[in-house]
Point group: C2
Chain length 147, copies 2
């Protein structure tokens, strides 16, 4: 199995202020995709939609302001069954956000694409929290031909 | 072993025009770090320097306009012995750039950091080739507290 890992740190923002951006529909819509629906509570399913398609994520864990975990229950074949894990840690005036999209069965080209794209969305999350404005789909940063 | 993988595509730029950005000192200085020195030919060693330190990379392969491979011979412990692999492919008016930083022994937090940072440098490479201006260190995109 193969994983995508990333890290950003968010300035002047404690973990409690990052947490709603990962655990509420409005928060998620502010940095990943404006077309976010569903139930973001533990046990619920969140529907993330993008122009080319989307993902349904079951919320496995939102038990504390330090850890959030989803499992992909619908979407591209390569994504179904993978997990997306977030952990938050206070470090001075910053919150360190550790990210892992775990359980890819092969290092396909689509995995390379998703890794870079996740980085741009994490920068969108950071910008949302630091400046009030993220770059969610369809205003996302393009890294390739139609992406 | 664990790998960092990424992909970007560069518009209106054939692989032959991307290749010098990976295989010449001036090209590398335009998107990764302005402080790039050494010998970028196959068998040579390139010295990449950043405010906090740097890496020496031995050039293992620059045999065609499709593939470039380096091995880290000096730098942070986690990097030494790892390889950085590039492959380029024409796709219509675009060059698809596949990237792999292979051979990390553990998924340490520093690997998470480097994954996100590589994404921003690949976007810098794309910008250099599409617009003439990249964001090499020390004008790089900051993703965390001192990085």
């Amino acid at each position: 199995m193969f994983d995508i890992v990333h890290r950003v740190a968010v300035e002047n923002t404690p973990p409690e202020a990052v947490f709603p951006a990962l655990t509420t529909i409005d928060g998620l819509a502010g940095w990943w995709t404006t077309d976010t629906r569903g139930d973001a509570a533990e046990g619920g399913v969140i529907e993330f939609r993008f122009p080319p398609g989307g993902f349904d994520m079951k919320v496995l864990e939102t038990s504390s302001a330090e850890r959030v975990r989803w499992q992909v229950v619908a979407g591209p074949d390569e994504w179904v069954g993978t997990t997306v894990e977030w952990s938050l840690r206070l470090d001075g005036d910053w919150t360190v956000v550790l990210f892992k999209h775990a359980g890819w069965s092969e290092q396909v080209e689509f995995m390379h694409h998703c890794s870079t794209k996740w980085a741009t969305y994490l920068m969108s999350l950071k910008a949302l929290l630091e400046t009030g404005t993220g770059s969610p789909s369809p205003r996302d940063v393009h890294i390739a031909h139609p992406d």
